[in-house]
Amino acid sequence: VQAETKTTVDDISSTSKDSLLGAWQSVHDGPVLLDFTKVDYINSSGIALIIQMLMEADKTGRKVAAFGLTPHFQKVFTMVGIAKYAGLYKDEPTAAASL
């Protein structure tokens, strides 16, 4: 999660719930950039956390863009439908320009 707060985690799974949701809650408004460049493991619990963030963003009309996903996780995010609610980009400048 970027903006006023930057939180770094290697895994997006149930173990990162407090870090991720805590970071999300500390950023009160504006668009959100999700940086996955240092993430090498995402499981279904992590996907559920991202969906929870997207639910909040959808309710408040905030735009979300993600960058730095490996090709595998880009595919997974497309499969599960996350790509419908968050733009997936190869790098930070492209993602930031989309918001």
Binding site: S13, S14, T15, Y41, N43, S44, S45, I47, A48, L49, I51, Q52, L54, M55, D58, T70, P71, H72, K75, V76, M79, V80, G81, I82, K84, Y85
Partner: protein, 156 residues
């Protein structure tokens, strides 16, 4: 990397029922698949499918009871790799419905519940076998050499 004959071989791993240990199975499956000559994108598919199968076994099969272990049996054949993930649960009588992202985003469906969908989408065969006595329910996954995942085939 030089190829090592793998057909007919089997590797077994036993995991404690603690979340995080699915990574041990992922790493082992990736190593076996690499020895068999699977391409990197299919190894990534396998890793995610094996991780999700182990998480289901740890959470739902063994209910996080650390006295119980999850068995992971990797069997190499001439044309693919079979993975069985065995737990002490009673298995599932029926499969959950396909997840719907729109319903999840609008709070009409639990945001969780993507695991089985991912498994089915990423491997060539997925079969859930339940044992009502709780002595050996398992999920059986197969990925075949020289095949794309179902999703990759549809994307082409």
């Amino acid at each position: 990397m030089s190829m090592i004959p793998t057909a007919g071989t089997s590797v077994e791993v036993r995991l404690p029922s603690r979340l995080g240990f699915e990574k041990v199975a992922m790493g082992t499956a990736a190593s076996v698949a690499q020895l068999m000559g699977f391409p990197p994108d299919r190894i990534e598919d396998l890793k995610t499918a094996v991780a999700e199968a182990c998480i289901n076994a740890i959470e739902h099969g063994n209910r996080l009871n650390e006295k119980l272990s999850v068995g992971v049996i990797l069997s190499a054949t001439a044309d693919g790799l079979e993975v069985k993930v065995v737990d002490n649960g009673t298995g599932m009588e029926k499969q959950p419905p396909k997840p719907d992202i729109d319903r999840k985003i609008h709070g009409e469906e639990d945001p969780r519940g993507m695991g089985m969908f991912l498994i089915q989408a990423l491997v060539d065969e997925a079969e859930w076998v339940h044992d009502s006595k709780g002595k050996g329910s398992y999920v059986r996954l197969v990925i075949r050499l020289d095949k794309d995942s179902e999703f990759d085939k549809e994307s082409k």
